[in-house]
Symmetry: C2
Subunit: 459 residues, 2 copies
């Protein structure tokens, strides 16, 4: 074993990146700016400042600096749980009998259970620096809310979380862990906001969506000047913070003389895939290497594979700016039996543009029974119970490894294992009992969503 690649490759704490990588600086066609719906014009810093912390708003608009230094206090927090391991999936390779070499970057080893903490601690830090009382946010599966609750607990900031109602019901322990860290958790839609009340008036049984929860959190942040809204995905700043994942992955692979042929990430709002592919996308955009990138999304919420590339609101209640992105329409809500996370109707503008331009090579959708099958196999052989979100990437990594078995190619596959499935056991149970259904949207469902996309904007 002495010369073999180890099961887990760790960087030292001194090798944690000292700066985030801003992919926009390397994009030849930057994505089109977000639009302030009130003016119909590109949002300016002063448009964004009432909603976002000032420093984060600056990051949101920054398309020139390739690297943005990470403040010391954030670096120090990162050392609690980073660098995260790069794992060689020897056991999975053996189970699949594939010549492919499979690696995964495991981001679920912290208490929040996912990669979301990388951005949560950054956003909480800037809120604290600005002297705010607290932040508001939404959460779907609960990963982001938990991460933010931890980050705010660390900085003694108030944290108000609107949690998609169906998720709050499916995952009572997510609520408990957020509250343990001092957050307040409100199932959304709620009666606490105009946006929530409006939706409940139309449909008192509404099971909620990320889009609705975003509306509520933004509305709540806009009351007074002591709070700002923070978001765990979609935004440029989040893709920026998550670049850590890709930077560490590349550095760890260099240590073992590896480079991925294929990079696979699950994609809901794009935070994980955007982060995982960062350093490798830099290589592609600068002509150094050209790995093949695959975004994996749920068949129930197929924004890239079946959506439109258009300006749309980021929330259901139309309180946010509009972004140019792949979208199913801001009123689209995936079926409530969908247990795989990744429920956002749109996709990160950065990832959308990269996909549109062909740098992000492929989007693929998979059903929830497919992902739980992959997750269960993975759990048995690799000893790690994945979050359903992560299982999207596992599914496609397995499919690609099985293709290698057919062709005999020894491809190097890297995927992102974003989180643990500790809080998704009711979904695992449903899968095991054969009770998970797959209900991808019909063309009529999609048409109803598309009808809510605003008229094409020309700038």
């Amino acid at each position: 074993m002495s010369k073999q690649v180890p099961y887990k490759t760790f960087l030292s704490e001194g090798e944690i990146p000292q700066a985030w990588y801003n992919v926009r600086a390397d994009m030849k066609t930057d994505h089109r700016p977000i639009i302030n719906p009130a003016t119909g014009k590109p949002a300016t810093l002063s448009d964004l400042e009432p909603v976002f912390c000032t420093e984060l708003a600056k990051q949101e608009l920054n398309n020139t600096d390739r690297f943005i230094p990470i403040p010391d206090e954030i670096l120090s927090f990162y050392k609690m749980y980073r660098p995260s391991p790069l794992v060689r999936a020897y056991f999975l390779e053996k189970a699949l009998d594939t010549p492919a070499k499979i690696y995964y970057k495991y981001e679920g080893g912290n208490t929040s259970g996912s990669h979301k903490l990388n951005s949560a601690i950054a956003q909480a830090y800037y809120a604290k620096e600005q002297g705010l009382k607290g932040v508001t946010t939404e959460t779907g599966a609960g990963q982001w809310g938990t991460a933010l609750a931890m980050a705010c607990g660390y900085f003694d900031l108030e944290c108000k979380v609107f949690m998609v109602k169906v998720s709050a019901a499916q995952k009572p322990y997510r609520k408990a862990i957020m509250e343990t860290y001092g957050a307040t958790v409100t199932p959304s839609p709620s009666t606490e906001t105009e946006a929530g009340r409006k939706i409940l008036a139309d449909d008192p049984e509404c099971s909620g969506s990320l889009g609705t929860a975003i509306s509520e959190a933004v509305e709540c942040a806009l009351r007074g000047d002591s709070y700002r809204y923070v978001l765990g995905s979609v935004l440029n700043q989040v893709v920026l913070h998550q670049s850590l994942i890709g930077l560490e992955s590349k550095a760890a692979m260099e240590k073992i003389d590896e480079y991925p042929d294929i990079v696979i990430g699950c994609a809901g709002g794009g935070s994980n895939l955007g982060g995982l592919m960062s350093a490798f996308m830099a290589d592609k955009l600068t002509g150094k290497q050209a790995p093949y990138f695959i975004a994996v999304e749920p068949a129930s919420c197929p924004s890239m594979t079946r959506g439109k590339f258009a300006y749309d609101y980021c929330d259901t209640g139309e309180v946010t700016p509009m972004a140019m992105m792949y979208t199913l329409g801001h009123a689209f809500i995936p079926p409530s039996n969908h247990a795989g996370g990744l429920r956002f109707h749109g996709m990160s503008p950065i990832l959308s543009q990269l996909y549109h331009d062909g740098h992000l090579d492929e989007a693929r959708s998979v059903t929830q029974n497919q992902i739980f099958e992959a997750a269960t196999l993975f759990a048995k052989v690799e000893g790690l119970l994945p979050a359903p979100e992560s299982a999207h990437a596992i599914r496609v990594a397995i499919d690609e490894a099985l293709k290698c078995k057919e062709t005999g190619e020894e491809k190097t596959i890297l995927f992102g294992l974003t989180g643990t499935g500790y809080f998704d056991l009711s979904a695992y149970e449903a899968y095991r009992l054969g009770e998970l259904e797959d209900i991808p949207p019909t063309d009529e469902d999609l048409a109803r969503g598309f009808a809510t996309i605003p008229e094409q904007l020309t700038l």
Copy 2:
């Protein structure tokens, strides 16, 4: 930061110990042998073979070999999740403003969520090697059952788990995760065994205990010759396998030029503390160093602090051999509101003897409100939500660090962080809402338990 001890010290995979350390070989007074109640004599290998896998029975009786080599297949599995990190609790030190240096060995980073996997994979391996169909066991909080389910899933062994009924009700997701790994889970007491039926006849509402679940699992293993019984604590073989924790801790501390003044572990059956202190106890028994060892147990189940040192059965139904240990009597059942784990009525014979002889220096009991207070602080500052079991050690580590603050001593404290609290969120919730009660046993409760301890045996 360059010369500072890192937050997390990892050994390389090549530095995982290649052999388990058998503390009995260094004990000047070995603990007294386990007794076969049928013969009244020390149990022989042939007495143990119907219950335990043969190789494990040999380990159980081995008091001569200081080191027992770890088979390659087990070592390979260990590489999935080991070496586990040794963490310097800088954030906790800062929060306490203590001159003490606090370290913890974190064993909860695997999917089973605790250190139990170290012994589970060994026991499953020997069962597989022996050509058995499967194994039976009991679980309380669910950590052991989950670990064993994972290990059996890996080796394709059947795994039948009797789970203490009150825990099964408190922790439905523990059941789900065991089933995901292919185990069958039966709440205990059940009607599937004589032992269970007898207890239910006396008390149909019985909330169960580890002692009862052990009776059921042993009875079940004794049917036919295709199954054996395995146990996650108490036994000599378990303390042997868990020596990994202490061996790794000592090696990691050597890397950073540290040695603990105080070693603290929670103690239910003794698996964690026995493992954590192993390499350090070797130093003490051989006269090289003399760290101060503290066992921490719940006030609700105080076997060392309030129990008797006597021969007693390891289970309620009197189907197991008798062991010389600190015991509350084999009919003792802690109050059902006790949420802190560590519910066993006795204590590992090895640890009992070491305590009796003064090598294990101190046993201390703490209440559940004290441990959740410590756990909540720890989670906020160290970013890691501990299992309630682990929080016993955290509580005392904090108390010792605060003593250092008073005296100004810069002691080096090492404690075992055995697992995550992901499956204990209802208890965290109850604590947060002020609903956790502490009901330590009264003298009358204890007297009732003691009355079930058999007459003193003289050998």
